[in-house]
Symmetry: D2
Subunit: 345 residues, 4 copies
């Protein structure tokens, strides 16, 4: 049994990690760490988990690392670095669900997150934890920078096109719609039920912190600079992201050829579902699962491709993707513990 710990276990992503790891056949959950909730039982923090025997503790990074084979960090940016240093020193693995280890370049991180990076020497060995793109490196990694929710949906929507060199000019637009859980479990009146029901609204227009991550990965795949215009929106749902991605395709492609790129690229992926022509992905069909559903449309007159992807932002966009990475890192069946079907309705 792999011993796992969760840091920042009291948020929504933390709760989803607990849900998945508790029933994972190869994992024993040994540490739940939370500064705020130290001393509380799990049922006090998550009514849904009443009856489980876990207790929240506050431990030092060294203590946590010593009790685990892998640490999941589901905390605000800046927190994972100290745990990574401890994990590195002890030769243990760490999966950060925040941004601290997503960037190859510490300067980029510092510029967007306005925080100095305390361990840039660990970045070279860290791997961006998107299995469909970096499976081999993940298998060897000690530290994973688990992708952001929006980037997961956008990179998977474009990878087959960008890798094939089909996209003109390296310019894409991603118009994303996200459920509210992406904002975390905050005491902020702006996230009140009454403020967000019946509300649809963009935010962070042109300035969202997921932009550099999207551009880094697409640029790597393309081999040349990709510029992404990214417009996230809040929609009145708890879970789910739909990203509607617009790109312009070089001459010579038909819808059939474009769909063929996706079919071929993802044919062995257990968690990517390419949707039949005429249908489109929706958030409800992936809720609670690790699936990413993808549709492809093409307007030949303007050479515009419209790729739509749907994920559960707490699933493939966070917790279950992190577990998928763990499975790969430890040589387990890749679907272990995350093969649960979406909850519908």
């Amino acid at each position: 049994m792999i011993k796992a710990g969760v840091v920042g276990a009291s948020g929504y992503t933390g709760g989803e990690l607990i849900r998945l790891l508790h029933t994972h056949p190869d994992v024993e959950l040994t540490v739940l760490s939370s500064r705020t909730y130290s001393g509380k039982t799990i049922g006090e923090v998550f009514n849904s988990l009443r009856g489980l025997s876990y207790q929240f503790e506050e431990l030092t990074p060294e203590e946590i690392v010593s009790e685990t084979d892998v640490v999941f960090v589901a905390a605000p940016h800046g927190v994972a670095m100290e745990y990574a240093l401890a994990a590195d020193a002890a030769g243990r693995k760490l999966i950060d669900l925040g941004p601290d280890f997503r960037f190859r370049d510490a300067v980029l991180y510092e510029q967007w997150y306005k925080t100095p990076h305390s361990c840039p020497h660990l970045l070279a060995g860290a791997v961006y934890g998107l299995p469909e793109i970096h499976r081999t490196e993940i298998a060897q990694a000690q530290i994973i920078g688990n992708p952001g929710c929006y980037p997961t949906s956008i990179i998977l929507a474009l990878a087959p096109l960008v890798e094939a060199g089909a996209v003109v000019d390296g310019f894409i637009i991603a118009d994303s719609k996200s459920g509210i859980s992406g904002a975390g479990r905050k005491a902020d009146a702006a996230y009140n039920f009454c403020e967000l029901t019946e509300e649809v609204r963009p935010y962070g227009v042109l300035h969202h912190r997921h932009v550099p991550e999207i551009e880094q990965e697409l640029t790597l795949l393309a081999g040349s600079k990709v510029k992404a215009l990214f417009t996230p929106h809040l929609v009145p749902a708890v879970r789910g992201i739909v990203s509607t991605v617009y790109a312009w395709i070089k001459p010579g492609y038909s819808l059939e050829l474009i769909r063929g790129l996706f079919a071929e690229r993802y044919k062995d992926e257990p968690f990517i579902r390419l949707i039949d022509e005429g249908s489109h992905p929706g958030t409800k069909a992936v809720a609670g699962s690790n699936y990413c559903d993808i549709s492809v449309d093409f307007d030949a007159a303007t050479s515009t491709v419209i790729v739509v992807s749907a994920i559960d932002n707490l699933g493939k966009g966070a917790a279950s993707q992190a577990v998928q990475c763990m499975n790969i890192m430890f040589g387990l069946e890749e679907t272990a513990g995350i093969a649960g079907l979406p909850l519908f309705p």
Copy 2:
């Protein structure tokens, strides 16, 4: 034009008061007072009211009273008292949407709200602002204790029965379901969209502060002590209360006779709609309005009457009821400014 001011104008009830008073044909809104938001424009506090020219200020009770004919106080308990003293001194009218002036007995207030009452001498002249019950006194009053949202729905559901002496033993059960806006505009993670969507849950079982108000008014109507067992529930809606009220009826009544009591009692009430047999009230049919919809069922085998009432907790349960009281106090058409139809769907 009547000059009106709103204290605590930045909450949900305050916003609803502004919405109604701004379009009221006989009212000029002269003061919006808020400690937290002093200096802000209305559009910063309520996006929906962008473009209106109001500004939030922080004024003393004396200043507010001097600029208005009537002050609405939409603030937590304890706040209205100081404004009432100022209004009383200046001979102006005050409508408190909180509990400070709902009780005839200061001791009851202090016992349930754990706060000393600073002006018990004003209670005798204050009127419980439920027009269907106290219309004549409201017309004469200087100070109104506007009813709580739950009590409005429950007292209106029972008044015809209790007044007729039809209820056995003075014992009733009120099982109420409320939208979330009743909890106010709070920075508390427990009220986050993600926590309350798909959530139905009782709270304050046996201990809710609306109990003494319900019992006071029903006891007055009955002429003998009425005991109320009250179980409020949160449901995942913004606006609306449905109260399902159970009472036991003395021998001799049929459903027809019972319905007759309601039809007769409310036949001239512009805001009470008695629902046809076989149908039942719902919150959506009263949203944004001052209506109270009521149905009556009777189980002859156990002599149990089931009265169901529906109101908009921010409307008939708070703001539009306060405006209805104002209309009566100033001799205006009772429906002025609050005749808007429910928003559907």
Copy 3:
């Protein structure tokens, strides 16, 4: 591996059965039967299940029975009877999620469902599939009448009190609030998103078909006639039932004694969670699971006990309870395939 089939597999309960049975370690899902959707792939009927290889067929009861060890019938009342006859003839097991086999007395069924019962001779051997009450009989049964969603929540809320003889007069009130999925997957404008969002409303007052089932089981537990006044309400949620149950307790009981009855009665039940004093169950904490959460309050002044129970109507109220019964019938671990934790948020 146990071969299982689902009749009426295209509805919400059918979908939940597929979700659970597909990942059940001891089950092979061999037949999905649907008249309406015969010939369709599973992904066409449930977008969430895209990628699975099941196909909907239309088979005769005999054919289905011949391909399965157990048939689940998730269809309107009246449908299960023909499958039961076939199962009985072939010596196979059947679990009906409808009402056809819930009643000991065919007359009661015919009176409430306005349908003749075609196989009353099978009723004597059928067992009401509430494991916490009838575990031993379930283990021996060939035919299970899986309980209704509301009755599950209400019977579990009262069983410890009724069995102990603590309830006065055999009269109880159950005020229930249900998510919309209980109404099924209907093409009816009354169930449109726009009609039900922000809507809370009672229905079926005094006449709901779950009344005889509640009374039958409580009467059996009490050993004397129990009369139930039942008021169901729709609330704007997909899944979940909260039942607020009022009963009157004989002299001599304190809250502590009453809570003791529950603690003792359910101490070994894997799916019943007794909530700590001061907290109350909510639907969100049981979503997607087989849990039933229960709280107990007591008003000594009126000897009224208020028991609140929460279940997922598609889970413990339907599909996962049916799987729990199957587990018991086949001697499997009782929690097999239904130990998944609730999805939160």
Copy 4:
């Protein structure tokens, strides 16, 4: 008093028209026509309108026209034509909330709606009822083709740019998110509450019928062909559309200049609210009103402008915009009857 009739009065748009016209100071609602609901009282069709005395009738176009000064048609495409012929013959006015009179070219209509146009001779005199664009012609018109909900939001988002000749190449992308009420009051399981809660999904990608309308009006404003790529999405809300519109701007423009175009163009418009820099429109801030909120962002590096507009699809996107047209046609105050503030929360 202007006598108004509504055809197709039982749908969501019809209900909104009734809500507005009933309280309009200059209008008397004389006819509510519905084939399906003929003979029903208004309260049976709209619970929210219980207590009003209207009755649904089925009348011939000639009869309706003879009893009204203006007929509103809120019916599927194809229905308004017969009423328009009758109105034309009788010299009465007609406002069609469907598409029959939105196109200058009958061929375009027939191509997209697959229906022959029975009165193309009336198209030349019909006016596209977007007051901010066609106010003068509306004042003279006998027949109005009231704009579609999506086109309203998209055309208003682009008009200042397109009129100024600022947009490159005449190519724009509109990514829209709509509440469910836009789909109408249908008996279709796909619109059930349970199917759409928590669901976000595109539909009609590249093929939505609002495309030709958007292109016609933008082309007219630009003076040269504008091509629109339009991707509508359903989001789990009842009311509201947010359109996120991407266009490319010719050299020489800064954000300040671009915002200046909007400020100047809309400075006297009572229903357009230009949002301060840094904020963005949301659907909740316009719910129940005739407002259109607009924000403007500009990415200088790629010369991309992102305009976001928000309307209530049943308000400015349908019923209140139709009333605005009526006000203009009859020389009334343009805001009469539609100055109600948005309902919040």
